[in-house]
């Protein structure tokens, strides 16, 4: 079924595509570098990007991207711990892996405080044929604090 969908999408692409294909890449590119062999883990991975510079007491947003090769069951995303960061939205989200577009993306509005250590810990739990499996990820806001509520410095 997946392959049939792919064939159909290929056919659609063929209609509007006139990309040149007679050029040949020869003896040019280096191989990509692999990081190493990780230990086994739950089949779910989280990447994140903080929208802009972390400034104390100024609302920010974290773009979350969750990838999993599972296509059935559910994914539960929970804020398991937080320090120095206030969450401005729900602390729990559940996704149906069969119907949600992959990768799963959403934004997390937050308000960092002026603490030196600021982080969120997200716990991701997926239903698998081996039972529920969890994996936790740290989102780090601990960059040098810039507090926009502080009086301006007299120093140049």
């Amino acid at each position: 079924m997946m392959r049939m969908i792919r064939w159909l999408s290929m056919a659609i692409l063929l209609v509007g595509c006139t990309q040149q294909d007679n050029a040949i890449a020869q003896n040019t590119k280096p191989a990509p570098i692999a990081r190493g062999s990780l230990s086994p883990a739950a089949p779910v991975k989280l990447d994140y990007r903080i929208a802009h510079e972390v400034i104390a007491n100024q609302q920010n947003s974290v773009s979350i991207e969750i990838a999993t090769r599972l296509d059935h069951g559910s994914l539960l995303v929970e804020i398991a711990k937080q320090q120095g960061v206030s969450l401005l939205s729900t602390s729990q989200r559940r996704f149906d892996l069969a119907s949600v577009p992959h990768p799963i993306t959403f934004d997390l509005p937050v308000l960092p405080t002026d603490q030196s250590e600021r982080f969120l810990i997200l716990l991701l739990t997926v239903d698998t044929d081996m039972g529920p499996m969890s994996r936790s990820f740290r989102i780090d806001f601990s960059v040098p604090v810039v507090d926009d509520t502080a009086p301006p410095s007299n120093h140049p």
Partner: protein, 597 residues
Amino acid sequence: MAANCRRVVGLISLLLAACGGGGGGGGSAAPAGGQPATTAISTPALPANNALTLSCPTTSNFSLQAPPAIASGKISGRITYDRVPFAAQLGGGLDYASQYPLPARGVVVEAVASSDGVSCAGNIIKTTLTDGDGWYELALNNDATKICVRVRAQLYRAVDSVSGATWNISVADNTANNSLYLLNESSPTSAAATPRRDLHAASGWSNGSYASARVAAPFAILDTACKAIDAVLANNADAQFSALNYLWSTKNTSDSNGTLEQGKIGGPFFSPSAVAIYLRGDAAIDTDEFDEMVIAHEFGHFVTHVFSRSDSLGGEHSLLDYEDPRVAFDEGWATAFAGLVLNTSVYRDSDEVATVNSPSREFYFDIQQQFYGVPTGWFAESSVQRALFNIGAGPSFGGLNLGIEGLLHALSGSYKSTPALATIFSYASQLAGEQTPSNANGIAALLNGENIDGSNIQPFAETETHAPAPADLPVYQIVFAGGPPVAVCTSDDYGTGNALSNRRYFRFDATAAGRYQFTVQPQAGYTQAVAGFELLQRGNRLAYQQGAANARTVRYTSMPLSIGTYVLSAFHVGNVVENSGITAGLQCFNVTVTTAP
């Protein structure tokens, strides 16, 4: 014994020592590509009892009478650390309330002569190793010199006339210039004043949280490494391990947005380029120092790296994945190795995070258990680890009882130089060939139980008939120089990067020495296909080509190749190369080989 453990002399603290230079082992700058810098841990002086230390010593094999007699001109004592065990109940994670002291075995102990009589700065005047029960003895020239005892987080043995075995396993801090961890006295005293000095590396856990320095962590890591060293020595008493650094820090965390020097390691992993194993120590989310299966699993990768070969692509993986056969084999091997070293079938990886909805404080599974719906086959690490564990394990696990020695033996020898890729096919072919017919039949039966054709298994998988889809077979196609184009399709059906059928493999026999031209060209109609290509000899990459959106065919003209068998890997760049900008998907190519002038 326990009373001695607690007789901690003086104020002991975990200190960091800059260990650069020495023995010509200077560090190097980080190479391009964000890989970690090579480590610059110094080699200790030859331990006084080096010749007596033929293995990482066990409690039943200690070399000193315990406790050593107090004698003039000697300092002796016992080195211990806190072990935090797992809860009896699976899912319970680490049970900090039940921590207990264990001997630090085979670690380097130094006598540092204080240069000013007040501090512990000075020259190292004696070096020794602890025995299997943590005891050490430093024979000094006089009783009056003020000495500090210093324990390096380092297992060490030098080659000598007694044994060719050698190892040098350190635990260092990747967030502090890869400096070695030490357990150190803080003020010097003479041997006459304090002849007995027991040093204890405490966990730092108190009243429900870490309240002081986590001195035990490096020594807990080394204790697991010690078990793994012994497992390898059981197969080869003269095993020569290369230097290995475990890189652990309280900053090492489950976040990969940053550098390794910041502790953003993502998860525990083995780096073949740095010959280092990174472990987490972030107490807010996940610590690895007491996760023996994690530590031994990564050591398993080190073993294949040093004593055999690994063709693995690395990266993220799980038991539920359909993986490239090289990844499935390497990961399955490492987990089976860990289980056999630690004599358990249960993999446990603790974490510090739990909620009402997700109460488990660990990631765990039983290596031997099969689950409906979880992939089985040559592309599944769960199958590889289960088969190898059951081949090596003894009767108490219902195994074939070849022992870890049997599995290790097959890693060396002709398997190392097979022209096929390092997969369950090449390994099991070697393993079965070394065994009696009865054991070979047992191996075949275990593989058959994993949907891997185990009878007459061949390195190039000619007899394999199982796959998730017919298009995933054969494992290798054959391409001839001057022959017709061979059609192949690569897909992202099982993921990208290191998944099954991202890359498709070809056997190429160079029947004459000379130059060859290899071409991977998108088939007609595949207008989004962008070809990639690798040429491999015994798992080593001879060439890599990657096309682009405006140059979708790749062509490689080789340097003169010798007569022999090679492996080609053909792929669609979008399925293999992260952030390439090329869309992943099912893409088909023609592969041709011609002789080149």
